[in-house]
Amino acid sequence: MNEAVALLPGYLAWHVLLSAGALVLGLAISLPLAVLASRSPRLRWPLLAFAGLIQTIPSLALLALFFPVLLALSSASNALFGKGFSALGFLPSLLALTLYSMLPTLRTTVTGILGVDPAVREAADGVGMTPRQKLWRVELPLALPVIMAGVRTATVWTIGAATLSTPVGQTSLGNYIFAGLQTENWIFVLFGCAASAGLAIAADQLLGLMEAGAAHSDRRLVIAGAAGLLAGVALALLPLAATGKPASYTIGAKNFSEQYILAELMAARLEADGAHVARKEDLGSAVAYRALAAGEIDAYVDYSGTLWANILNRQDNPGRQAVLTGLTTELMARDGVVVLGSLGFENAYAFAMRRDRAAALGVTSLADLARLSPRLKLGSDIEFLSRPEWKNVDAAYGFSFARETSYQPTFMYRGLASGDVDVISAFSSDGRIAANDLVVLTDPRGALPPYDAVILISPKRAADARLLKALKPLVGAVSVEAMRTANYSVDRDEGKLSPAAAAVELARTLDQH
């Protein structure tokens, strides 16, 4: 809890900056558009349909979609003007949330203006108002309650959806939720939800105060509401102004415990050297590599098999060392990305079963599993079934499971323990394999590719002596047992450590070698 509170100023500041920015931008665009749409039936239908369409795209997908678009724009701008911009984090989040915030205001403003009594509208013409005067003095004031309802809806939506900017690399209150879900830190999840809901309620109530003031021509209420909003935003943004110093290094992490721990491990070594380090956590698997190649992050840990199949699009499996060597030369040649080296352990895909269940069925290898698969149920993480690794292993053994279900990793282990599934796609460095007494099935046909954890360095830091000096000692230093212990200390239900604390423990065991 104390840990969560300590992180609040930074998370809240970014969350407020992002939501307020998106709302102001969204209003600045949607209000004039709504006025135009209320004047022109031909514009009205397509505009409202488009805004409605945006709303049906799941907000997480909308946020993720902006990343490749901005990346392409950034490289185009780099080619044209010699200056790119950050395609990760704030910008895609801001743009997606802006689009997302537009529909409610667009729709209610059009409805509100069209709902003004035609007799009053004619009276405005009759007393000699110009169309602009009619809009400002009659139509907008009369539509205001309806417009404000839309603004308040947009505010609540945007503040809620802003939590989803965490996976595209933008710090927000969503950091609590995503990190908490991964490490089963329910206090974090609840804290994140409560903070975001509290923020939404506060903003909504202050807007409600302004609305009530406008309805009763009570200027004091309007000013009080506006002042409350401005003061709230200014107060929330204070930590950003105080820590305005840009970080000199940015370490990335994907969205699971091992990644958080390794990012903290790398960050701690840089910080021990006096460097400023920012973390960008919870990056999607595809986002992370592209962000590194574009220089948005300076270093992160990925896995040889993942890079081999997803980045180099290779289907073959020439063996552990050949994959590592191939990656080192090809990533450098293609993207200028440095493969600094393997940390010394593998986090491979593995199929795991409960020991009693495996013994009862007589299953020790994937070949045994394939034979019995029509009677068995497979649980997997959310990506696995759509990954090339699964296609390879499926082609090699010919599985036909009775049922295949995708879970968040946490719930996948629960499903295995409760017997909802018989076998799961586990990770070989997961501490829960040893802790839950699971057996890992052997792969006699060598269909699962190697997954050495490797440190990747961005092209622009390829020759950065400080970074290389800090991270080089980690190469070959982390055993799979040490990593399992560290992972388990974060993932276990009782007495769990934060990723940073687990990284400190891990560093201590490394120093003993």
């Binding site: 007799a119 009053v120 004619e122 405005a124 013409d125 009759g126 007393v127 000699g128 009659v138 009369l142």
Partner: protein, 257 residues
Amino acid sequence: MAGTAIAFDDVSKRFGGHAALSGVSLTIASGEFVALVGASGSGKTTLLKTINRLVAPDSGTVTLGGVDVAAGPAPEIRRKIGYVFQEIGLFPHLTVAENIGVTPGLLGWPVERIAARVSELLDLVSLPAAVAARRPAALSGGQRQRVGVARALAAEPALLLMDEPFGALDPITREALGADVRALHDRLGLTTVMVTHDMAEAVLLADRIIVLDAGAVIADGAPVDLVRTATDPRIRALIDAPRRQAARLAERLGGGA
């Protein structure tokens, strides 16, 4: 009477397939109180609205004091003409004083002059000064239309247009307000054009009655001439209905009682 205030020259207007006005030519002299009478759909409101360009004719011209109303921006012309709406059309979000002061405000009058004019007008339309700070919703129907008349007169127009101004009022209020408007017309030397479907009201208030049917003028004259000489059954129907009503009223109440 000093010259021509309004001249219609062959004014036509169609709404879809329906001819609202077909070739209307008329002149109205300064200082006249004219009633435009006719059944629903006869084109009387459309004709009124061509004067302040709330309706633009398809062909023909409307001139005010010799100047084509189609010249120049419509809001400028409208600010010089008082207009009383059928549905009153007060701005619900503004106070009575703000409603009355709206056109002077658009004309850029100084605040003190507007305030003085508002209290003068409240007096003129027989409303207590206390209503100035109220919203229209807090007034009775008759008070609201008095505010409507005050708003129309606020910028000191020479021309007052009224579209069924008393239609929504109860008979007592209607009679009182009608008489007050006629008195204001005389006192301020206005030219007034009033649309009504009620021939009795037209006879009681107007100097001149123009009867429209299907977008054309079918009668035009002083009330007394019209009542005496008209033979057209459409005009007689308009005149005879209130007369029959008055006669039946007298009969049921026992003659001269």
